[in-house]
Symmetry: C2
Subunit: 107 residues, 2 copies
DNA sequence: AGCATTGTACGACGCCCGTCGAACATCTGC
DNA sequence: GCAGATGTTCGACGGGCGTCGTACAATGCT
């Protein structure tokens, strides 16, 4: 018998978000493409739904960096892990930041 | 006799600016404070005019990273080096980016 | 039960980053 | 000319990053 924990995955709170960590998380092209895709989907996406040019373990690493920086929220659902942009929290702490970066990345 | 070269210091052109490099440059607290100070001065500042918690050589390194990312422009004047934010170029390539980051860093 | 799918954990590798100190270059002022 | 100020360059150091492969865990499907 295992204890049912709603939130096994560690996330920083809204107040704990740090600008440097967010900028560093978004400075990697793979992670930026993940964030751009999440913004486009506008919902929850599984880790595997991204066609990334890296292996699974590297993928796990990038999602972890994004989560620990507070850019995304991860939620377990069966064997898959659902990812979601923390748009509201980011907007609260760093107004306009995510939008301008995403617009800049689109070219 | 030495050849008088106007631009000895290498800078990327406006079109060469890369978002990842800019975000990485601004993800370091020392460099972000340099950029914030340059934005406040709204002019040209010498490298030594910043009270940074690092040695001279580390300082040189940070200014180099900012310059190669295209965030600042450096110009030699006697023994000192004058630094200036490339506000117009950054605004052209990444509209609103510098402003939102600076506002976020002050908040 | 057995197998496939999804993702994590761990160790390894090379590389770059932030930092420092020492030595050097260049200009300015006495 | 010489001393001081301003930065750069170089090598070194520790640490972290991005990447991979392998092994493992958990769930879903037949």
């Amino acid at each position: 018998m295992s204890i049912h924990v709603t939130e096994q995955i560690a996330h920083p709170s809204c107040e704990e978000l740090e600008l440097g960590a967010v900028l560093h998380a978004l400075s990697d092209p793979v992670r930026l493409s993940i964030v751009a895709e999440l913004a486009r989907c506008d919902g929850e996406c599984t880790c595997g739904s991204f066609a990334l040019p890296v292996t699974k373990s590297t993928c796990t690493h990038h999602f972890k960096v994004l989560r620990e920086a507070g850019v995304i929220r991860q939620r377990q659902s069966g064997t898959t892990r659902l990812n979601q942009l923390r748009i509201a929290d980011l907007e609260t702490r760093f107004p306009g930041l995510l939008g301008t970066i995403l617009r800049s990345s689109r070219g």
